[in-house]
């Protein structure tokens, strides 16, 4: 009788031992997919190296193009096909409602750390009570201006778009007279993609023209203030902005700015550290200010990137661990000090190391807290199409393909059709 227990005990013992080992020592291979601007990938790699050293797991980066529009199409396709090759996705702040069905709920795993992040960002990534992504960094744009040139020509950083137009024109004229023929007043993101939605939303909102679709779902875009805002921007094309700005994304605008060929640039904070790098022609010659007002205050579009774990991952526990690692305070601090990426952990804004390395960050807390969200929450799964209709109407107006009044009337009709009896 007694003998019978021997093998059973042995079996249980073995199970316990293997159980322990699979829990800790069996390394797995993970894959993370991420788009990038500037040095994002370099930073990701260096954070992943720390992760690999700590856990023994290996992580492969799958790189994507800079356009969030291109990334989204690919991610949606992979997720719909149940692709198990990618474990962690870097997701845009606007994607949560559209991808929620394919992502794991991180509420339980992040319950100890979620409280350290800004509640508004956690909320933006929560769909039907499910935390679908953990914030990595947030974004609110700045007006970059050439301190040296404004001083040289006796101008102040502009507070309104009118002042910006006049100052940019003046500096551009003076610089061109001085023989700098390729100099431009103002560069921004004018290509037909999600970035133009961000830029144009700022113009419209700061002129008091609403947020395209309001929080309660009403379509507000076709109004005189919004049209005035777009017409102001239209007046820049070919005067203070090169015509090519209609094809610029973040990195194209930064290319012109960082070679010293622009007086003003609208861009995200990542450009701050890069503009101060050693190979930059504007190092130490620039500063940042909030975006100008159009009569109804300054408006900054809320951006930001998050980490989501695919439902189809073969190693969900490790993948969640990786997402939390990359969103942790230490990872965010490195991202803040080296890349001037705005942290989502409130405490880091008071961190002396961050303030010393990137003075933009503490002063940007206020701006990001008042940032305007794109209408991804009210328009739900239709957001991408709403955004595309908006940027198409704006791009057409800026490039002279029909006037703004007609384009916005058409836009309103299209959005009404899309909405039907309600956004879903």
């Amino acid at each position: 009788m007694k003998l019978g227990y021997g093998p059973a005990a042995l079996a249980v013992g073995t199970m316990l031992v293997t159980g322990l080992f699979t829990g800790s020592a069996l390394a797995v291979d993970l894959a993370i997919v991420s788009g990038a601007v500037g040095d994002d990938i370099k930073m990701l790699r260096s954070n992943l190296d720390r992760y690999e050293k700590e856990t023994g797991n290996t992580v492969k980066i799958v790189e994507m193009p800079q356009s969030t529009t291109d990334q989204f199409g690919q991610y949606r396709l992979w997720l719909s096909a149940g692709n198990a090759d990618i474990d962690v996705y870097r997701t845009d702040v606007i994607w949560a409602p559209q991808l929620a069905n394919h992502l794991l709920d991180l509420t339980e795993a992040a319950k100890d750390v979620a409280g350290a992040h800004f509640p508004s960002i956690i909320e933006s990534q929560t769909v039907d009570g499910k935390l679908v992504a953990i914030p990595m960094f947030t974004d609110a744009p700045a007006l970059y201006y050439r301190k040296d040139l404004l001083e040289k020509y006796g101008a102040e950083p502009p507070k309104t778009w009118e002042e910006l137009t006049a100052t940019a024109q003046m500096v551009q004229d003076k610089e061109r007279e001085a023989g700098n023929g390729d100099f431009h007043g103002f560069v921004f993101q004018g290509a037909a993609y999600e970035g133009l939605t961000c830029d144009a939303l700022e113009w419209v909102k700061s002129h008091g023209g609403g947020q395209i679709v309001e929080a309660d779902g009403t379509i507000s875009i076709n109004n005189p203030d919004a049209i005035k805002a777009i017409n102001t921007a239209k007046s820049w094309i070919g005067t203070i902005s090169p015509e090519g700005v209609l094809g610029y994304k973040e990195e194209d605008a930064r290319g012109v700015w960082q070679t010293g060929s622009a007086a003003f640039m609208r861009n995200w904070p990542y450009a701050y550290s890069l503009s101060n790098s050693d190979d930059s022609a504007v190092k130490g010659k620039f500063d940042v200010a909030p975006l100008p007002s159009g009569g109804d205050g300054s408006a900054a579009t809320l951006g930001g990137w998050n980490l989501a774990v695919s439902k189809y991952s073969k190693h969900p526990d490790e993948a969640i661990g990786l997402a939390l690692f990359l969103a942790s305070e230490e990872s965010q601090k490195r991202r803040a000090t080296e890349l001037s990426r705005l942290p989502t952990i409130e405490a880091l804004y008071d961190d002396p190391d961050v303030a010393a390395a990137q003075p933009i960050i503490p002063s940007w807390k206020e701006i990001f807290l008042n940032a305007v969200p794109r209408p991804s929450a009210p328009t739900k799964k239709d957001y991408n199409e709403v955004s595309k209709e908006f940027w198409t109407a704006v791009h057409d107006s800026l490039s002279g393909n029909g006037d703004t009044e007609a384009n916005f009337k058409k836009l309103e009709a299209k959005l009404k059709r899309l909405k039907g009896s309600g956004w879903e």
Partner: protein, 321 residues
């Protein structure tokens, strides 16, 4: 009696042989047909089916049949007023159709002309002809994504070599934003496509040129016929079959153009083609069914244009002349 017996036996032997041949040719063809049905036929049927449903990419299996609503649907607002919905009533779709057809007509037209010229040059005897023939093919050999990116840089308004060149020789006084501006976006796409596919046309036309027997030219020379007349009266009619096939290849390619435009001018309404429109609805928007319907129409449009072209150009696909 005996003679007719032999004849019958011979005939049955022959028909046996023929049946045998037909059977074996089907056996040889079967793997290809199976693969084709699997990778082309099945997806095509699936796409057509999805075009008649309300499928979304997240819920493909729970798609319900909704008839022709993706194509055309009258939505009544309940107060006697209403509006037409669906692809056939979508101005964006018709803009995409126009863009595609315009792109195809212009690009194939110029490619045919340039291709013929290049083929005639390559057909002539000169030193280093082999090398030039290989070199001409380079644009065709470069993957479209790579050449589109390459041209995007050359056409960049600030750093692009094209603007630099034109500014220096004084053709333009200000840099042109090739891919960004509404007036030049389509031109930019056309330039890259013509640059890229002219070698392909040249190659097909060159093959046609080499089939022409030399003695016809000798006869024309003896008769003292002007070379221009020789080209239009002798060369052109003789390479017409090759030309017609080359044009159909290129036209089919041009009508479904996607990669070049997706990289060069992805979202400009002036260059959005039917394929880009379909991709956008399938994957970017929550409108998988609508995108499927667009793909089906794209298939039909290409089909109709091909059939009409084959009739007009009287191309014989059976293999005869």
């Amino acid at each position: 009696m005996a003679a007719s017996d032999t004849a019958t036996a011979a005939r049955s032997r022959r028909s046996n042989l023929k049946a045998e041949r037909i059977r074996s040719s089907w056996i040889f063809l079967a793997p290809m047909l199976l693969v084709l049905a699997f990778v082309a036929g099945w997806p095509l049927l699936k796409t057509i089916w999805f075009g008649f449903t309300d499928a979304s990419l997240d819920a493909l299996s729970s798609a319900d049949f909704i008839g022709f609503n993706n194509y055309l649907e009258w939505v009544d607002y309940g107060d006697g007023d209403g509006e037409w919905y669906g692809l056939l009533a979508d101005p964006d779709w018709w803009q995409a159709v126009y863009n595609t057809v315009f792109f195809s007509l212009v690009s194939v037209f110029f490619e045919t002309i340039f291709g013929t010229i290049v083929a005639l040059v390559l057909h002539a005897e000169f030193k280093g002809r082999g090398f030039v023939r290989a070199a001409v093919l380079i644009p065709w050999a470069i993957p479209t994504i790579v050449s589109a990116k390459m041209w995007a840089w050359m056409m960049n308004d600030q750093f692009g070599i094209l603007n630099d060149l034109f500014l220096h020789i004084g053709v333009i006084s200000q840099p042109i934003a090739w891919t960004a501006s509404a007036d030049t976006a389509m031109i930019a796409v056309l330039i890259v496509d013509i640059w890229k596919t002219t070698p392909f046309m040249a190659l097909l036309i060159l093959a046609g040129l080499q089939m022409i027997p030399q003695d016809i030219y000798e006869a024309a020379k003896i008769d003292g016929i002007n070379p221009v007349k020789v080209f239009f009266r002798v060369t052109l009619p003789l390479i017409k079959p090759a030309l017609a096939v080359a044009v159909i290849f290129r036209a089919l390619d041009a009508l479904r153009v996607f990669d070049l435009i997706y990289v060069l001018t992805p979202n400009n309404s002036q260059t959005k083609t039917m394929s880009v429109f379909a991709q956008e609805n399938l994957f970017q928007f929550d409108k998988f069914a609508y995108g499927s319907a667009a793909s089906t129409l794209l298939f039909l449009v290409i089909g109709v244009i091909t059939i009409v072209y084959l009739k007009i150009a009287r191309v014989d696909l059976e293999g005869g002349r």
